[in-house]
Symmetry: C2
Subunit: 203 residues, 2 copies
Amino acid sequence: MFRLAGGGSRVGESTAEPVRRVRADAQRSRDALREAAKEIFAVSGVDAPVREIAERAGVGLGTVYRHFPQRSDLVTAVFRYEIDQCAAAAPELAAAHPPIEALRLWLDRYIEFMATKRGLVAALHSGDPAFAPLPGYFDAHLRPALETLLGAAVASGQVRRDVDAKDLLVAVANLCLPAEEDAAHTRRMVSLLIDGLRYGAGH
Amino acid sequence: MFRLAGGGSRVGESTAEPVRRVRADAQRSRDALREAAKEIFAVSGVDAPVREIAERAGVGLGTVYRHFPQRSDLVTAVFRYEIDQCAAAAPELAAAHPPIEALRLWLDRYIEFMATKRGLVAALHSGDPAFAPLPGYFDAHLRPALETLLGAAVASGQVRRDVDAKDLLVAVANLCLPAEEDAAHTRRMVSLLIDGLRYGAGH
DNA sequence: CGCCAACCGGAACAAGGTTCCGATCCTACC
DNA sequence: GGTAGGATCGGAACCTTGTTCCGGTTGGCG
């Protein structure tokens, strides 16, 4: 048997693996689906019908299931993507703002992320094994992002040292949960929290 | 217009309301459904199909929806019934055993109750408004039951006084959650907890 | 330019919740 | 005891939603 789609490796590319180039239309479909799912999940929750997502993405049902064999794969893909985006914002903010400000802005960004997670918490607790790896992904990506920002703020003397990044992530997440509708309230509470961070700082 | 099914009030019965007598077959169906649902929920979780419950109860689908207009009504009915049964066990145990023993036995009963609640916790967190009143019902019935037992045990000098009934209910419930399969483990932990109750008691 | 594997669309299937309505069965009344 | 009538029953049918399947289409390479 021949290796399927072994096309041939390109110059300057590692030949260790055949890296089949994805077709342009396939990539387009995948991106459109991710984007559509993200928007619809934010509005209707993660229980939104697959057909609705397919329609908004402008693709057929078969295309959805080609890229995401199960509904839950679409959910986790969106979740991972959003986690990545949120984590990626950290170094950008750190480069553009002073430490304490970068920290504050990133937490705003994190709140925005959590705000779209209606129903996902329930899904995580549903016992569906498809969602089991998500908490780990969450911790593996967001914690280091926050740790960097927090470390810089501590080093600059503007924030006390006895604050744990994971604690802070969980605390802010919990602040987001009850006020699913009232974003302003959440922001006030988190603002309070940030002020608390500064209490007893060296500077 | 005549009052529908106003049959007529009976001697010795308050005439304040017409109390339409439920038909015997209807009552039978309702009881059979509650019992069937209880058994099936315990085995397959609260997501079990309505058809399966109807079949086990030996009734048609229409009968299910006559008594429980929505699926969730069946779930809450079973939940309420089990809470009632569990709460009702408290005075019986109190009458038949010394205080500390009654307390221990009732907590065993409570554990048994919690053990069948697989998936219900997730349902409660799903945001479905149909389940919103359940936590209140839980607190309104089980807390007084435990408070009575706890009070008697304290009064007898066998249990310390600084234990709150609600805290205890939640703590035991949490002990039940992780060990969905290993009932023995849960019982060991709760046993430990009960011994803790005696620590520092007057007697 | 032409091939063909990968990709696409959507019809079709499966499962589960809910509705509907003719047939049936209690209960009240005579 | 018998009967009328409305409550109740059973299950077929309908709708929504997840998933599979397959014939038609197309991007990318030779």
